[in-house]
């Protein structure tokens, strides 16, 4: 084992998932001088190996995790599992890592769907002290709401509409649904209700700003990285830009835009390098408060 940490014989180990019928595959990346903080990295790509080594250089051991191959390659079944078991599987991975290495506090990292359920796991589990979220998955409903609301709030939209430059039929259904939803939110306070939970592990909370502020107040260090062309960047900037700026100014959260067009960082070497630069810098600055 080297000083900077390399993959150990724990590679390829299978652990039971939170539900029956499939397993999780994991690879442990060990560190000689590991502290009480470990990282659960969702993904077994080369990029995650690089991330694991960057973290190892900072004394943080990692466990790379993925659901087993047959399910991983089936997009619909994979997302169904992420949706129902994402948070529970994060807990399984943390329990396993804890048992293997005595780690008591965790950084969770994921891309897209995995980023979203990692966030939900952090909200639900106090053992999480750090989050690395890349291109978090945003649902179509959330994207539609954001883009429609933006359109409706833009005077130019109404000018184009009055001039006959927009089709009433194309926009009416979505607009009415949006307006109805907003009125309902205002009336029942649903949008800002702390008690409201996302209906699936694959959905960012609608009170995301509030949840991020709570996580930061709890001492969780958060790094959010979005590729320039990714929907998540547009959604987060439009809906939560002010909160993210405020938390960033307070030094509690880092929100980075990476000049890349990749949605999956692990398949784009340049994006992966930029991401790992951001992670290295963040780890350098972050102080993890262990429970």
């Amino acid at each position: 084992m080297s000083a900077t940490g390399t993959a150990t014989p724990g590679i390829g180990r299978r652990i039971p998932s939170s539900s029956s019928g499939y397993s999780l595959q994991c690879a442990l990346n060990d560190v000689q001088t590991a502290g009480p903080v470990g990282a659960i990295l969702w993904g077994l790509g080369i990029a995650e190996v690089k991330t694991a080594r960057r973290l190892a250089a900072k004394g943080i051991a990692s466990m790379q995790v993925r659901i087993d191959r047959a399910l991983f390659n089936d997009h619909d079944r994979r997302n169904a599992i992420y949706s129902t078991d994402g948070v529970a599987n994060c807990r399984v991975a943390m329990d396993q890592f804890s048992e293997q290495r005595g780690v008591t506090s965790f950084i969770l990292m994921g891309n897209c769907a995995c980023a979203t359920f990692c966030l939900n796991a952090a909200i639900a589990d106090p053992r999480v002290v750090g989050l690395i979220l890349t291109n978090p998955h945003v649902t179509k409903r959330q994207l539609l709401r954001t883009s429609l609301w933006r359109k409706l709030s833009d005077p130019g939209t109404w000018r184009r509409f009055a001039a006959g430059g927009m089709s009433l039929r194309e926009n009416l259904v979505g607009a009415l649904a949006l307006i109805g939803g907003r009125i309902r939110e205002r009336l029942v306070g649903e949008r800002h209700s702390a008690a409201r939970r996302p209906f699936s592990d694959l959905e960012l909370p609608d009170n995301l700003g509030e949840e991020l502020a709570k996580l930061c107040a709890r001492g969780v260090q958060v790094l959010i990285v979005c590729a320039t062309t990714d929907d998540s960047l547009y959604y987060l900037r439009t809906e939560y830009g002010a909160v993210l700026d405020e938390l960033q100014n307070q030094g509690k959260l880092k929100f980075e835009e990476v000049a890349a067009s990749a949605h999956v960082f692990s398949t784009d070497d340049q994006a992966s390098s930029l991401l790992n630069e951001a992670i290295s810098h963040w780890v350098e600055m972050a102080t993890f408060t262990c429970g």
């Binding site: 390829g12 993904g43 077994l44 990029a47 070497d269 390098s273």
Partner: protein, 90 residues
């Protein structure tokens, strides 16, 4: 040792590692060193790649640098052998 001989030896070792250590059901002499390691070629899973990275480092006694951990390094056994040879020369 000439470039070609060293490259061929590394490729041969890599084939043996895949056949003997990875439980993939591959036979060393049937592995084509020029086909992609992933889906369309040898069909290696990402976890096998992680395993291969660790095994190569143990066997050849070096550590991949960040710059080596690129998809192009794992395009084929020939490409991987080239990375290993360069690292051993340093």
């Amino acid at each position: 040792m000439s470039f070609d001989v060293e490259q061929a030896e590394i490729v041969s070792t890599l084939k043996s590692m895949l056949a003997d250590e990875m439980d993939l059901g591959l036979v060393a002499h049937e592995i084509d060193e020029n086909v992609p390691l992933l889906e369309d070629g040898l069909g290696l899973d990402s976890i096998v790649i992680v395993e291969l990275i660790a095994s190569v480092e143990r066997r050849f006694d070096f550590e991949f640098q960040d710059a080596d951990l690129r998809t192009s390094s794992f395009e084929s056994l020939t490409a991987l052998a080239g990375v290993i040879r360069r690292r051993r020369e340093q």
